[in-house]
């Protein structure tokens, strides 16, 4: 898999800080499972968190070390056998298997417009964002839509292209607000993507804006 589009450095930092909204953390974790390059970047970024943590003024603890609890605990043992190749079984990245199963063909798609299907993934706190799979038929054009917040898209199968290039499986489009784009799904394979959209207060209107081009309402 040749990945040419990666998340921005700022997004990777937020990921290494553990501070991304959940929808974005899910897209990011899925990309990382496929991308040795970003795993390398993250390991450098981890030193930033460590350095800041290391220099926090300590707060005295009032209770002693919980040694009594240790006896009752079973240790996790490292998994035996050869280390599994990172990340992808079929075309579902490891981190998504727990919510999607192992095949994109088994997803209960819901048709939202001509040549477009959607599947919503429930988050722990839906007010913080929206995470969904979108399936686009071969050659289907998605109408121009701008962004009013963060949006991150990971291609899982097939490809799409827009003014900024061609996005294939593993590629991430990490878009800032106000970027207009008009993606076209690959004419042969179509495209299945995982898309995170930021929530906060404008959650509803943002999602409407994202889904609107597909549904036409």
């Amino acid at each position: 898999m040749k990945i040419t589009h990666h998340p921005s450095d700022a997004s990777l930092m937020s990921c290494s800080a553990g501070s991304m909204p959940e929808a974005f953390a899910a897209v990011m974790a899925s990309h990382i499972a496929m991308c040795p390059c970003c795993r390398g970047t993250l390991s450098t970024m981890e030193h930033i968190g460590t350095a800041l943590f290391d220099q926090l003024p300590p707060t005295p603890v009032s209770r002693p070390a919980p040694v009594a609890a240790l006896r009752a605990m079973d240790a996790d043992v490292p998994s035996q056998g050869p280390a599994q190749e990172a990340g992808v079984l079929g075309d579902v990245p490891d981190p998504l298997v727990k919510v999607l199963g192992t095949s994109l063909d088994d997803v209960p798609w819901k048709r939202v417009g001509p040549g477009v299907w959607s599947h919503n993934i429930t988050l722990s706190d839906p007010s913080r964002g929206d995470l969904r799979l979108i399936k686009i038929a071969p050659g289907q054009v998605v109408p121009d839509h701008g962004h009013h917040g963060n949006e991150m898209t990971l291609v899982l199968r097939g490809a799409y292209s827009d003014a900024s290039g061609v996005y294939r499986a593993g590629d991430v489009a990490d878009l800032d607000e106000h970027i207009e784009h008009q993606p076209i799904a690959d004419p042969v394979e179509g495209c299945i993507c995982l898309i995170a959209v930021e929530g906060r207060l404008k959650f509803k209107s943002r999602v409407a804006r994202l889904v609107q081009p597909f549904t036409g309402f």
Partner: protein, 199 residues
């Protein structure tokens, strides 16, 4: 607001005071023979800092104390998964604290898992060269952070220590989202430059 003082003198007050090797060794003793004394040492070294971290993430003192206990218990349970190659003991413990915080304080799924030798060969003892390089890397990252312009250090701290997303940082500071991201990027580039020749 500068949330963290980074130019404190290297007076041995940091977690590396007994040497990073000892912390890694304590972890290894826990892994190999369930050494309770080693656990006590790690607890003394890390629990107060994990508690401070949890409080900065918005936990009250009591919750922060519980999360510090739980973090160290997780360290005990997962010690067998720690490999010196994966980075310093502090990095590993910080990652555990970070994930626990996502799980408990934000009540969200932890999508980005603990590094546990995923796709890399596990090795229990790092070579002396690697330990030195690790120590050198840490000092250089600290030095690079200490020389960041205050506005860059501020966004980095809000992200790593207070756990705010880019949009939350933008709201807190009254800045455009793009400005927050570019400060993060600039800060990272400075850190990256400082460690580029170590690898």
């Amino acid at each position: 607001m500068i949330p963290i003082v980074l130019n404190a003198p290297p007076d041995g007050r940091g977690l590396n005071a007994p040497g990073p090797l000892s912390m890694a060794e304590f972890l290894q003793r826990i892994a190999e023979r369930g050494d309770v004394e080693a656990f006590r040492k790690l607890f003394q070294a890390y629990a107060p800092r994990v508690k401070a971290y949890m409080m900065r993430q918005g936990a009250d003192a009591n919750t922060a104390e519980e999360l510090a206990q739980e973090t160290l218990l997780t360290v005990w349970r997962k010690a067998g998964l720690y490999s010196g190659e994966k980075g310093s003991a502090t990095t590993w413990i910080f990652t555990i604290a970070r994930n626990l915080r996502i799980d408990r304080l934000r009540r969200e799924l932890t999508w980005v898992e603990l590094p546990d030798g995923h796709n890399e060969e596990a090795s229990s003892d790092a070579l002396p060269d690697e330990i030195l390089a690790e120590q050198e890397r840490k000092l250089r990252v600290q030095a690079a952070l200490a020389t960041l312009p205050p506005d860059q250090l501020e966004v980095v701290s809000l992200s790593y220590i207070e756990g705010l997303s880019h949009s939350e940082i933008a709201d807190r500071l009254g800045l455009p989202l793009g400005t927050v991201k570019s400060r993060m990027r600039l800060a990272y580039h400075k850190v990256r430059e400082s460690v580029e020749d170590l690898k």
